[in-house]
Each structure stands twice: as C-alpha cells, then as structure tokens.
C-alpha cells in the first residue's frame, strides 16, 4: 500500500483556508415588532428587549468535528439594528453543510430574555420573560463553502414570532396572542411568568405533540424559545433539546 508522500504533503501543507464570518439578526419581526397580520387572532407585539446568549457558534465538518468555533459566548440584544457580527474565524477552505449554534444560559444571564408589549384589540399587556432553556441548533445553510483566501458569512436568524406559536411540533402551528394576553389574571397590565405557569395548556387547544411534559403556558413558551433559531433567513435547523 503506498500513500504518496508528495501528494499528501501538497494536500496538507498547502491546504488553503478562508474566513467564516458569523452573525446573528432578529429581522424586522424583532426590531420593528410583529404586526397584526402575522397573528391569526389579530394581536400585535413589539419587543423592547430580545436578548439571546449564544454560547457556541461552530462550523462542523463532514465527520461532525468543529472546523472553527467561536471563542467566547456573545450576548446580543436583537432589538438593536442588525445584523450583529459574532465572530470572524479561520477555517479550512472546503464545503460544509452544517453550522452549529447553541443558545444557553451564560453565567447569570438567561438564554433568552424577551420583553415588550402584546396588544389584542383594545387590550395591551407588558411582558418581560427570561428563560434558561439550553438549545443546540444544527443548521443546514443552502450553501456553506469557505473559499481559499476569501470569506463566507453564515447568519443565525432569530424568529421572534415563534414565541407566539400555538403548537410545539405540528407544521400547521399558528401565531396567536390572546391566550398569553388573557394570562394577566391579576389585570395589572403585565403578564408574568408566574401567571403563565398558572395557565394549563389543555383547555387552550394548543398542541404539544410529543412533548407531554409541557402542561402549562410558561413551559409552553419556554419550549418555543427552543425553536427561534434558523439559518440565513429561513434555513433549516435541527434541534437538540
């Protein structure tokens, strides 16, 4: 068996590298708010804070190993105009099909904090929710080729409207606000997480699919924070919960 040394030296010694630029963005739905036409029940929402703790951003090679990885966690408020740069990393120049992101608590900081207002008809409530969910997104951008000496940008796109879905895994899930607004049981104009936790899911007609342990509205929204990550706009991500 021969394994030509010259060929390998050429392959290894001259292996070109390029730059993987990583960014994140909340798009208009987080920066400007979610308009009524997006909601099935005519509600609307705006965010004053939408912070995510991105603890990992990695370029994954075909063997499942990290070809490049963000050195330190980043905490970004996506209500400020984006896209927001996360890292600029050197990586072997080749084709990749997977980028991995992790949104998880970073020290005392929650993984996701969303604050703002929700309006349904004449009623408006404020909310300020923090979640400690830990989610790894395995994303499949349409194209992820790092050119030798050049750069390619991958974006973790965060979809704020997913916090208002009425289903956890059914593809026909809709964006609804009424149940969340009505969770303000003390009518003080703010829906707290404790109030959400007091609302059982079963009467709402919401669907949890295989996640049978999700039985209250707080757990439901917490679970939805694990579905906000996408890639390059609408690109697909698998989720390790």
């Amino acid at each position: 068996m021969t394994r030509s040394a010259p060929v390998l030296l050429l392959a290894a010694g001259c292996a070109p590298t390029g730059t993987w630029e990583v960014q994140t963005w909340g798009e208009d739905l987080i920066e400007q708010g979610i308009p009524a036409e997006v909601f099935e029940d005519g509600c609307a929402a705006t965010f004053t804070v939408f912070e995510v703790s991105i603890t990992e951003a990695s370029l994954v090679d075909g063997d499942g190993s990290d070809a490049a990885a963000m050195a330190s966690p980043a905490r970004i408020d996506l209500t400020s105009p984006g896209p927001h740069a996360l890292a600029s990393l050197e990586a072997p120049a080749t084709h990749y099909d997977t980028a991995r992101f992790r949104i998880a608590p970073d020290g005392d900081a929650p993984s996701v904090r969303a604050a703002g207002t929700l309006t349904c008809g004449a009623d408006t409530v404020a909310f300020d929710w923090s979640f400690d969910t830990d989610t790894t997104y395995r994303c499949e951008p349409e194209d992820l080729t790092i050119p030798g000496g050049g750069s390619h940008t991958t974006e973790l796109t965060v979809h704020g409207d997913h916090l208002f879905y009425d289903g956890l895994s059914n593809p026909d899930a809709l964006v609804r606000g009424t149940a969340l607004l009505e969770a303000d049981t003390n009518a003080d104009g703010e829906v707290t997480q404790d109030e959400l936790a007091a609302i059982p899911i079963a009467p709402l007609g919401y669907q949890v699919g295989p996640y049978a342990d999700v039985v209250d509205l707080e757990a439901f929204v917490a679970h939805l924070t694990q579905s906000v990550g996408h890639v390059d706009g609408e690109g697909h991500c698998g989720v390790d919960l």
Binding site: S4, T94, E142
Partner: protein
C-alpha cells in the same frame, strides 16, 4: 438484402486483426488494454457493457436498454459516471451536470461494432485525465476493424432483432467508415421495449506527415424501464421477478458527436489536437416509489435535457534524448444546457414543475508531465494538472436555491506521478499516486465558489511475466477523501459526509495454454469506510471476482472462432441503514465463428438463468393507490439480465 448478393464476391480473410497502439505505458498492473478481438470476445450487448472489462468495476442497469448504467469501482459508487472519466478517441463522454446525474456516462450512442479497442485504468495517475477521473478512467477507439461492406442481422429470445450495415473503403484506415444500425426488442418481461438507431461516418488520412481524423456519430434511442420490484410483492407472488409496476418509466435519448483531430509524429515531437462538438437530448420518466409521496398523482418525475457541447484539446510531447521527455497539454470545453424536472401524473402530464434551468459551464485545464528514465530499470513520470470550472446558470423555478442567475468558479490543482521498476524484466513493479477530482454539479451552484470533490490515492502493484504462458499480477490501493461531497437532489444541497478511505487489493492471472486461448482471473476487494464513524460506504462492491475464457482466431476445420465465456461473482454489498444486498453470480457467453465472408454470432446472457438482483434498495414505496400507505422501508430490487440467446449472421464483401 444480403441474401441477394452473390456470395462469390466475398474474399476470405478471416484472421484480419487491428492491433491497437498502446496509448501509454501502464501506471499499474490493473490497467487493461483491449484490442479489436478482445472487444468481440467480451460478452454483452452494448458498448456500455465493455466497461465491465475494467478490473474491479461492477455496473448495474436499473432502467432498461438506453439509460446510462450505474457504475461502481474500487469502493466508489460512481452513480451514473460521476467518478469514472471515459473518452472516445480523446473526446470526453461524461456529461457534466446532466439532469439525471453529474458525469452521466451513456455509451449507447456508440455502435459496439465500431469499437476497435479500449484501455481501462482503475485509479488516477496520469496528468492527462481531467474531470470525473476519481476512481478510474478509460478511452475507447473508434473505427471499423475490417475493410469492405458488411451486413449483419440478428435476433434473440429476448424478442429482439437487429440489423447493421457498415462500409470501410479498401485501402483506408479503420477510421474511414460509414455505418448504420438499428435494433428493437421487447425484452424478457414487460416494460422493456427498446428501439435504437445509430449512424456514423468517419474519415482518416495523412496530409504532409500529419494524421488527420474526423468522425460523426448520431443516435436515437427510445426505451421503457421496468424499474424496481418490491421484494415482498415478489415473495407473495403478486409480482414476477421480471415484472414491472405500471408507469415504471421510459425514456428517449438522442446524441450526436463529431470530432476532427490531427496528430503529428516527428522524430522528437508529437502533437495531438482534437476539436469536438456534440448535441444531446435526453428525456426520462421514472417512478421508484409509486404513489408514496403523492397518493393522488403518483410520484413519477419527468427529467428533460437538451444541450450543445464543444471542446478543444491539444497535447505536445517532446523527447530530449532517451532519458527525458516533456509532455503538456490543455483542454477546454463549453456546455450549454437546458434542463427541466417536473412531477407527472399517471398519464404523463406535468402537474408540478420543479426545475427549469439554463446552464453554461466552462472548463479549462492544462497539464504537464515529465516522463524520465534515468536508469535502465527505473522510469518515472511526474505530472500536474490545473483545472478551472466556471458555472453560470439561470433558474426560472425555485428548486430550493431561488430563481435568477448565479455564477460560481471552482479551481483545482491535481499532482500525479508514476514510478516503474524493471520495466523490461520478468517482474515489473509499479507505484503511482495522484489526485482525482469532480467538478461541482451545476444544480447546486450558488453565487461564489462551488465545491470540487477531491480524492487522493495511491497504488503499489506488480506484474510477474516469467514465462510467456503466464502473467500474474497483484496490487494494493488506497484512496482518501478529506471531505466527501455529494449533491442531495431532494434538498438541492451539497452535503459533506466527511472523510472516507478506501483500501483495496487485487490479484489476477492471465494464462495462455495455447496461442489462441487465454484465461483471465481477477479478484478485487475493497473496504470503503467513513473514517470517523467506521460505517461502510453503501452500495460499493466489497468483492468482485471475474473469470474469462477467451479464444481468438482459434481455427477448427473451416471455422475461425473468437469467443468469450465470462463469469463474475459479486459479494454482498452494504446498503444504507444497516441493510445488505444479495451476492450475485452470472455467466455470459459470446462466440463468433467466421467462415470466409460469413460470420455467425451467438450470445447467451445469464447462461445459468440465475434470478440475480442487479440493484437492491431500501425505502418506503406505495404501488397500489387503493391500499393503505406503508411507511416501512422495504427491499426493492432491479432484476438482473435474464437468460437470453441471440443469434446473428453477417456477410462481408471486399
């Protein structure tokens, strides 16, 4: 018609042979050169079947007569040709970015009777080999072996008939010919009807020390495809082994290819320039899942492609004394393609257009090689090839990558080298290493750069030729791919499946008990795995053993025989998802007896009438629209060639 011609006009010249010039010294013990009589003695119906002569290659036909085979070589699942570069008189035949598969290699357009020789080289070691040269390469020679007018008719138990006429002017080379043949058959079992017409003209001659050559081939084929049979349907008796589900598929294929070439031979210079152009149209209807995805309309798809291609290649060799030479060349090609894919209903009507794309693909390559022989017992050839692909496309439909124009560039550098020891001795040792590459498939291209698939391989082999009657050969090879890239047609994305390695060994012998008879035995074993997971590479054969008994110009009484009996055994193959295929054993026979101006041909496919499974696949399918839909993956197979006998008779006028 031939019966009306007076037999007395025919000149008896039964032993006329064309000896093919060996294009270059071999890079390994696995290289195989076929001359015209080897081609005659190789069983099989079409030119595509000749590729089976490649040591370690298995090919599978899952869609009747007329669609490109699937190729497997040295641990590679080369799909329809993505990893095997084949040329005809130096004209590249693989079709980049074909709608049905990248590197689509369909040789049905070449009249088998016009193949006068071939060289097949597993592995990649020569700088000349360009795109798709990943697992191996080959080149076919075109011409008419014999002078005069020849007419052949034939028919067989596979409900087929054929007629062929060819003419090579007396005193002209094999490259001067006119050819026309047609065949039609119903096949064994339903949905196997095919019809093919081929025509060709060629001209060769010499002008001022330059060999000039031109040829034009044209082809049209229509065919039905039996597709797959579900193993549980076969086991229950609902389907016969050679049955086909309704609307399993069909196709039309048309191709024209012409080339002009000039070769000069001066004492220390050689040049070779070829200009070629081709037209192609392909239409494929197929369904491998029935009504699984779309219970109302059915899952059948229609793929269509039309295209024009042209290219130029040139090479120069210059010798500096006996010890050193330099060779170099360049090649360029342009492919202008239009391709569509759509979902069609049971009546064949389009209900779901999915792809409509225009593609302009440019490829420019250059190579240099320096063959040296510093010592009597040592020769070496170091070379390198650079290639650059520019792929532009315009998508009318969004198949996952948006609409509009996109353009990508993909450069690649491929060093290669060969070492030969004791070339003139009884034991010759070969060492070779090289990088093969495959261009990006246009359908997955976005703006910017597109990924080139690259493989690095090496081989060590030896041939022992101590006595005239026996040649023994053996070798070991390895191929390493740092990032295996495949295009997922369903998701319209390039996937990276990681590092792979293929390690293999082969051994064989050629025995000449008497001059006119040879016996070849070859065994190739390959262990192909994903490096990280250790999972086997699916579909790729692990063991292929081939034995062939060949007679060439064997005289028995008034008859001169050229014949071949070829048996092969293919071991189990790993399939995705933890499944495995059956092993297969098949024997084919071909025999040609010549008596004066007459030739009598006998072909027997699958002599032992084995019901062998040519391809096996696991997935869910649904063929009865009225029944509940099962999502359980099932074993499906494509039936291997059945037992069939064909007879032919030919007559030659000189």
């Amino acid at each position: 018609m031939f019966l009306l011609l007076p037999a007395a006009l025919a000149e008896p010249e039964p032993s006329e042979q064309v000896v093919v010039e060996q294009r270059s010294a071999p890079a390994s013990a696995a290289q195989r050169d076929l001359d015209a009589s080897d081609v005659v003695a190789m069983p099989g119906r079409s030119t595509d079947d000749l590729l089976r002569a490649t040591r370690g290659l298995h090919q599978s036909a899952h869609s009747g007569h007329g669609k490109a085979f699937q190729y497997f070589l040295r641990g590679f699942d080369a799909v329809h040709g993505a990893d095997i570069a084949v040329s005809l008189e130096g004209v590249p035949l693989n079709e980049p970015s074909n709608v049905h598969g990248h590197g689509y290699l369909d040789l049905h357009f070449i009249p088998r009777q016009l193949v006068t020789g071939a060289v097949f080289r597993p592995g990649i070691a020569r700088a000349e080999v360009g795109d798709f040269g990943v697992a191996g390469s080959g080149d076919l020679s075109l011409g008419m072996a014999q002078e005069g007018l020849q007419v052949q008719v034939g028919g067989g138990t596979d409900r087929s008939g054929s007629i062929a006429m060819g003419f090579r002017p007396e005193g002209r080379g094999a490259g001067s010919f006119a050819w026309l043949d047609a065949e039609e058959g119903l096949g064994v079992g339903p949905s196997r009807h095919w019809r093919q017409v081929r025509a060709g003209v060629g001209l060769d001659g010499t002008l001022g020390g330059t060999d000039l050559r031109a040829f034009l081939l044209a082809y049209r084929g229509d065919f039905e495809s039996p597709g797959v049979v579900r193993e549980d349907d076969y086991a229950s008796g609902a389907m016969g082994f050679y049955d086909a589900y309704p609307s399993s598929g069909s196709g039309r294929s048309a191709r024209a290819l012409g080339a002009v070439s000039a070769r000069t031979r001066l004492p220390s210079w050689r040049t070779d320039t070829t200009l070629w152009a081709g037209w192609r149209a392909l239409e494929l209807r197929q369904s491998f899942t029935g009504f699984y995805e779309h219970p109302d309309t059915g899952d059948a798809t229609l793929q269509t492609q039309d295209g024009l291609s042209a290219g130029l290649s040139s090479k120069v060799e210059r010798a500096f004394g006996d010890a050193l030479a330099l060779a170099g060349g360049f090649d360029a090609r342009l492919d202008l393609l239009g391709q569509q894919e759509a979902g069609i209903d049971v009546d064949g009507a389009v209900w779901d257009p999915r792809i409509d794309t225009r593609i302009a693909e440019r490829s420019v390559g250059a190579w240099v090689a320096a063959p040296t022989r510093p010592l009597d017992w040592l020769s070496a050839e170091a070379g390198v090839r650079v290639q650059h692909f520019t792929i532009g496309l315009d998508r009318t439909l969004d198949s996952g990558l948006g609409v509009g124009k996109a353009q990508a560039n993909a450069p690649v550098l491929a060093p290669r080298g060969i070492v030969r020891l004791f070339e003139d001795g009884p034991l010759t040792v070969f060492g070779s290493a090289g990088r093969g590459f495959r261009s990006p498939e246009a359908r997955g291209v976005e703006n910017g750069r597109a990924p080139v698939s690259i493989s690095d391989g090496g081989e060590l082999s030896a041939v022992l030729h101590a006595v005239d009657a026996l040649q023994v050969r053996g070798g070991a090879f390895g191929t390493w791919i740092s990032n295996e890239i495949v295009f997922d047609h369903a998701a319209a994305r390039f996937l990276t499946t990681g590092r792979t390695r293929r390690l293999g060994a082969y051994g064989g012998l050629t025995l000449h008990p008497i001059d006119a008879v040879s016996i070849d035995l070859d065994v190739t074993g390959t262990d192909g795995r994903y490096t990280a997971s250790r999972e086997p590479i699916p579909y790729a054969p692990r063991v292929l053993a081939v034995g062939q008994l060949t007679t060439k110009a064997l005289v028995t009484g008034p008859l001169v025989w050229t014949a071949g009996v070829r048996s092969w055994w293919l071991g189990q193959r790993p399939l995705p998802g933890g499944f495995a295929s059956h092993a297969a054993f098949v024997t084919d026979v071909t025999a040609r007896a010549t008596h004066r101006a007459w030739t009598f041909d006998l072909d027997v496919d699958n002599v032992f009438a084995n019901r062998w499974r040519d391809g096996e696949f696991f997935y869910a399918s649904h063929w009865d629209p009225g029944a509940p839909v099962s999502a359980l993956p099932r074993r499906h197979f494509t039936a291997g060639a059945p037992f069939a006998v064909r007879l032919g008779i030919g007559w030659r006028l000189r």
